[in-house]
Amino acid sequence: MNKKSFFNVEGLNKSFAGLKAVNDVSMHIETGEILGLIGPNGSGKTTAINIMTGMIKRDSGKITIDEHNIGDMPAYLVPVYGLVRTYQTIRLFKSMTCLENAMMGAIGVGIGRRAASEIAGELLEEVGLGESIGLPAERLTFRDQRLLEIARALAASPKFLLLDEPAAGLNEEETDMLLSLLKTLPGSRNIGILIVDHDMRLIMNLCNRLQVLNYGRTIAEGLPKDVQKNPEVVNAYLGSTAS
């Protein structure tokens, strides 16, 4: 019924002043699934997301959605072909209202004002911000700003959503709420999600698959329960935090 789309990254490389931030990373996500991208700080997760969305240029590698080579497109076309993101540090349009913020997602991909306003309104309801529609984004609580960013991204009707540490700064209860929201998205909207986060409880409960980066390189991938046991991963990542 729902047509499947495929997000493919092949052999991505990026160096900063000789340091390999992303080293030959490949990644495959299809609509309907959630891939968790984890790794210690500085392992290249955010850099990878920045490259995929066209925010910074890659040195080499191929980034495609289905047959579209989005890696070679200007950044503003990337959402049009179905890829949007949220940010580790929230980047809302602070003085604009919640509705306008969410509308930006739809307007950016060429949806007209009326339809954009409808889509935005529905999404704000869905994430639980229906009451705050007319408030400037800067007046929202931290949690609600996170939710607004997600609503804004969804307003672009993406095929793939990249979430950069959506749970950062949220408490346990708020993270649970986020978890149940995110869990429904692949099914209800037929999208694929790439999530980066340090909250292992969120990652383990949410993701269908995991991919682990360390020093810009993929050191493991597979089912969460298998990755968790991988000695290299335990050594590089979990070993240092899970005590």
Partner: protein, 300 residues
């Protein structure tokens, strides 16, 4: 008698303030998107004023069309300068853009001096511009009322565009956080071009009323409106369009208050006092009266 002075004062503040608000808004559109103070904005006004001079003096085109053409020239100059002079340097340092804007300003000034004349030329305006009308017992030229009316209409139109059209919403987003807006699908070239086009259009409108007031056009005439516009956006808040408009009117209010209250011996120092006020603004309230929300990051 006293109320007459008050009414005259109000008319002066409103008409001068309208002109200053239009200049400030023109600067603010470009600054909002590009974080660039466009030092060539004064020359956008000069080009349009020369257009008014030529069309009004040497052709028989009806006035409404002359004004339309003047505004279109302003708009085209704004667009072309973005295309030719700014776009190639975008993504370089802000200093580079700033120098470029000085360069355009100086090149245009020299072109006027060499190609037209270093001397000022009388600018014709329709007779009804200078027709005196009586308003609440005070006599004032009709152009002042036309200016206030035009400004109000432009402000409403701009406000509606920015508030309710997809392009306006995209531009507000881009002026707050250009990088994010771009990653949401807003094309950089589009919003920057539109900012320069609106800026040029406003310069065209200013040219008509500025030269109607002074009665002449000369190569270096752009310097004064540029300075006034710059001061206005400093007062009002550089990151906020409504702020720039408020700044324009506040500037006119202060300038007129000084003219009205200063003893004649101090009157020649009016501009100096004005600058002291501006400097105190920069020290005490550097974000201006209305603080817009924005990211420090620049178009890259």
């Amino acid at each position: 008698m006293n109320t007459d002075i008050l009414i005259e004062f109000a008319i002066n503040v409103l008409s001068m303030g309208s002109l200053y608000a239009l200049i400030a808004m023109g600067l603010c559109f470009v600054f909002g998107i590009c974080r660039l103070i466009n030092f060539a904005h004064g020359e956008f006004i000069t080009v349009s004023a020369y257009t008014l001079y030529y069309l009004g003096t040497f052709t028989n085109i009806p006035w409404p069309f002359v004004f339309l053409l003047v505004v279109i020239v302003g708009l085209v100059v704004g667009y072309l300068s973005e295309l030719i002079a700014y776009r190639p340097f975008r993504g370089r340092s802000l200093d580079a853009l700033l120098v470029t804007s000085f360069a355009i300003s100086i090149i245009l000034q020299r072109l006027f001096q060499l190609g037209i004349s270093p001397r000022s030329r009388a600018v014709p305006v329709p007779a009804y511009f200078n027709m005196n009308v009586t308003l609440f017992g005070v006599i004032t030229p009709l152009r002042n009322l036309l200016l206030v009316g035009t400004t109000v209409i432009l402000l409403v139109v701009v406000m509606l565009i920015m508030k309710y059209t997809p392009l306006g919403i995209a531009m507000r987003g881009a002026s707050e956080d250009f990088v994010t807006a771009r990653l949401m699908g807003v094309p950089a070239n589009l919003v920057i071009s539109v900012a320069f086009i609106i800026s040029g259009l406003l310069a065209g409108v200013v040219a008509v009323f500025w030269s109607a007031r002074t009665g002449s056009v000369e190569p270096l005439m752009g310097a004064t409106p540029l300075l006034i516009g710059f001061i206005s956006i400093v007062i009002g808040g550089m990151h906020s369009l409504p702020g720039s408009v408020v700044g324009g009117y506040v500037y006119a209010l202060i300038a007129n208050l000084l003219s009205l209250t200063l003893p004649s011996t101090l009157l020649s120092f009016r501009d100096a006092i004005m600058f002291v006020i501006v400097i105190s603004f920069l020290i005490l309230k550097p974000e201006g009266l209305l603080r817009g929300s924005y990211q420090e990051e620049r178009v890259g």
